[in-house]
Point group: C3
Chain length 437, copies 3
Amino acid sequence: MLMDLFDRLFPINRSITGNGVRETLHILGECAPIRQREFPTGTVCFDWTVPKEWNVRDAYVKDGQGRTLIDFKANNLHLMGYSKPFRGYVSRNELMEHLYTKPDLPDAIPYVMSYYREDWGFCVEHRRLPEFTDDWYEVVIDSDLEDGHMTIGEGFIRGSSDREILLSTYVCHPSMAINELSGPLVQTMIYRALKDRKDLKYNYRFLYLPETIGSLLYLSQHGDELVAKVDAGYVVTCVGHGEAFTYKKSKRGDTLADKAALHVLKQSGKPYKVVEWNPFGSDERQYCSEGFRLPVGSLMRTMYGEYPEYHTSLDNRSLISEQVLQETVDMYLALIETLEANETYVCTHIHGEPKLDKRGLYPYTGGTRTPEQKLRILQTTHLIAFSDGQRDLMDIAETLNLAGKDMKEAALQLVEHGLLRNVRTSSELQTAAGKRD
Amino acid sequence: MLMDLFDRLFPINRSITGNGVRETLHILGECAPIRQREFPTGTVCFDWTVPKEWNVRDAYVKDGQGRTLIDFKANNLHLMGYSKPFRGYVSRNELMEHLYTKPDLPDAIPYVMSYYREDWGFCVEHRRLPEFTDDWYEVVIDSDLEDGHMTIGEGFIRGSSDREILLSTYVCHPSMAINELSGPLVQTMIYRALKDRKDLKYNYRFLYLPETIGSLLYLSQHGDELVAKVDAGYVVTCVGHGEAFTYKKSKRGDTLADKAALHVLKQSGKPYKVVEWNPFGSDERQYCSEGFRLPVGSLMRTMYGEYPEYHTSLDNRSLISEQVLQETVDMYLALIETLEANETYVCTHIHGEPKLDKRGLYPYTGGTRTPEQKLRILQTTHLIAFSDGQRDLMDIAETLNLAGKDMKEAALQLVEHGLLRNVRTSSELQTAAGKRD
Amino acid sequence: MLMDLFDRLFPINRSITGNGVRETLHILGECAPIRQREFPTGTVCFDWTVPKEWNVRDAYVKDGQGRTLIDFKANNLHLMGYSKPFRGYVSRNELMEHLYTKPDLPDAIPYVMSYYREDWGFCVEHRRLPEFTDDWYEVVIDSDLEDGHMTIGEGFIRGSSDREILLSTYVCHPSMAINELSGPLVQTMIYRALKDRKDLKYNYRFLYLPETIGSLLYLSQHGDELVAKVDAGYVVTCVGHGEAFTYKKSKRGDTLADKAALHVLKQSGKPYKVVEWNPFGSDERQYCSEGFRLPVGSLMRTMYGEYPEYHTSLDNRSLISEQVLQETVDMYLALIETLEANETYVCTHIHGEPKLDKRGLYPYTGGTRTPEQKLRILQTTHLIAFSDGQRDLMDIAETLNLAGKDMKEAALQLVEHGLLRNVRTSSELQTAAGKRD
């Protein structure tokens, strides 16, 4: 299923605007409902403006003998993103000014774009430069670059509270695999797994955006709502390759998003590394800007810039694996279960320990116990001892080196017996604190 | 002396109530005055209630031929603690339902009790189960389980201030050695060493309690007084075995009790490990509960649960050593000297350094000095430099890797010269801060 | 130049008062203007008093045959500092009471003084003691110890702000090299390098003091001014020997002085070690006393007490190297450039990232960039992301493992474009905080 979807989506010519985005969202929408929203060229997003819409029918470069040297239809990376319409004969020198290669990776077509200055260009494997021996070339770019719309996709699942978890990925990259088809695929699988759940505490928002301009647009329209509601968010990108997970922290670095991700990774026993927030990355750059300071990190595998094929045609199907994609879906779902289960309690009985045996929560007689009994006793006693209205389930679980979500049942049992009282989710506390005045 | 006392106390059938406790306190009271206090069955201690009083005259199990298979008089661990009176012939199946063994330690009689649900039982070495081949058995438990009293012991030494140090141990375990005769023995040796001192700053309270129910009872009667007065406390348990010391922190983790214990252990040069507070343990569970948050840790050797013979008949004389017991007494006394010496000073001369030579505190002429002179100069200069009303003697000593108590003389000399002024003990500061609202 | 100066200054008989100090300051004053200030005997400096002025014409010890055994003119360390006038014949026993040697370094003349108790003495190599076989000796100390003045030197460079950087060294040590001619030499080279600069932000104050009594005097006269103005200061001492740098922190430990020194040392790639403030040292003991709490550390090489020749005649020219002196001058100048460049900015654009390409701060088209372009982009994006009014240039540079001063150009460019606004130097914040009430 995942790789079928991949194969349907891979060839589409996506960019920050255009029909490729719409088609991509339409196909993903077969798995879970994605609302497509259109914003006209010229829409102001803080310091930025939605550019013209770009669509391409055809593009090629032919040599003097009419042989096609570069063909957009063979690989849409051959055409520089946002190339304006062009048709004419150009000299070798002029062509070379518009030709991009990657000398350190001679077999790769580099991924180049010029969204905000009208220009045209082609990208080609560096090793193929010797083929360009003629003096003159026919260049055809049959594209539209005109006022139109930018498309963003949005999915939503309603939970029982007014708090929200945000997942955000981007759909503006043409035919590449790790960065970026893996993100929309994994996000959609998460969305699909949750969409029919009736027991969710959180609302879930799934954004499919053109990178940077899309998150700026969304923030300019809904930023204050996100600040008011979002307890944790993650940018889903680069999730298709690599043994280890990579967690990039939010800028604040100590948000619920960070705490939960680090807790779940640690408890998973899988290899992972942690990267501090920095302004080289994806939409967490915008979500975490000082005007919003949203609790948004990014849970990845091998990340952008960390593999040689990054932003070239070599970032293709051969690099990604269904197993890695699925394992990442599962890790996100574990993270979500952790957030769903997480609560902060206060023990109602503060003078010494409450008597547990008379409530059936502890055996009357000392003696041998099953491992399950021992585990539950450990959970019960630690929940009672440490539930002080400050520590949440994850904190208390970590004193036992357990996963927070696995403490839920014991906690609910103590709530039933009136020994724990739910204070409020720790997340509500922090959202207020995170907002910049 | 220590082992003579041990040998007199070991065979007594102690439990959380009964004459065994009284006899134990009476014998310990030969070393230092211990007041016995009686609380009637039914006394409410928060969520708990003082149970009936239990006393045993005899208990045995005989087989069909009249051979005694289990005899309480041979080892009081054979009888499950708080076994109700019983007399009758029972089938093999019925007997097995009341027979406790420890399969992973087949030579050990396990220690089992049922304080809060009336029942009867016997405990036996697992390897002896094949002896139980008959169909019928005579079971006799000649015990009383009736309304009576729970006994606690209390000792007190008055010092010159109204601040208090608390030591607490428990006297409810029958014939075992590490856990628990070592605690009452060591605590009594400390008490004896201090009882005639006239120079003590602190008051000292020594509690001998039945575990859990005893500390709950004491807290229910005197908890607020302890909160108001106690600067540091320690649960004295598991102090008879092992090379290394173990310090279990108080729940707050940064109290004067913790600071002093860690300081003294570090300066002692002896091996030790540190354990965070957790709700598996002894009476520090009650003292540190949120309603009291007392500064009570526990300075142990090999601790409960960390040795295989724990809570069995194999925890006997062969495991403990007089040397370990005495070394622990000495460490507690060093800790007490540290607390006695510890003060927080403020240097009265804050504009540059005071001139020490004109006060006879520094040699006039540069040149070679004895090691003693050098050490005193180091102490004097550091006391002057760092006495800021925040750092106490232990803090300043640690900048020189010295023991706080060894700085006392230099400090008093500076007080005499008017260069240091005593602010107040650092402990007074923290007690106020520790109380939960 | 440095070693020429060294050779002229080395033989002068410096002490805490006297013509040796004046002559030293006069020679150093050839490099940069040093104002000599005179304070009369009896001037009170807090707990201390300026002593009599001491000058020496001649001093020697002759044996019974008239042979000169000790001659002040051969090495001024032979005479105990502040020896009062004396002339007479003394027995061997009496002489020995006034003779100082250093048994563990038998070839060294020890450095001994008695500033505050009138006495006389001679210092000699321990291995020469066997030469003192006669019964009687002629002792001549042709010195003046009379009411006079103590001399201090002061240099000043005016910058554009009212904030100040303090350098302080001492000129009271007779013929020794590391401790102490290296300090006055290095400080004077720094002063000379800065004195004609017109672009300095900070004022610079250079103090040449007799150790301890000099800084106490200066603080008693100008302490409150220093507290009001000084952002960072360093005691320049022991800067002539050793591979590694040593940074001794200020007593507060987290001042701008400490932050900048540690930042510059780390970014230099040179070996260094860090020492916590302690009351064994030089004038930072007075500057950091609780009444002032000035942000004054000490950037040294091999420091006092850490080499065997310390405070003896073996601390001479052979131990120091022009290269080490010069490297230290350069490190101090790098430190000063860092302080000069350091500012705290706030990014004026807080809702998402500002669009950099339209301001010419980012290339329009993706593709290969020069290392210089990449570096500037990194600096620009990090400055925008992290300039929150709290982090200063050094903080932001460290996220890129760069030197703070190398971020200055990128920061000024962003200020020009209105994207950063200068808040105020981080130093102004901390000075206020550091003053003891």
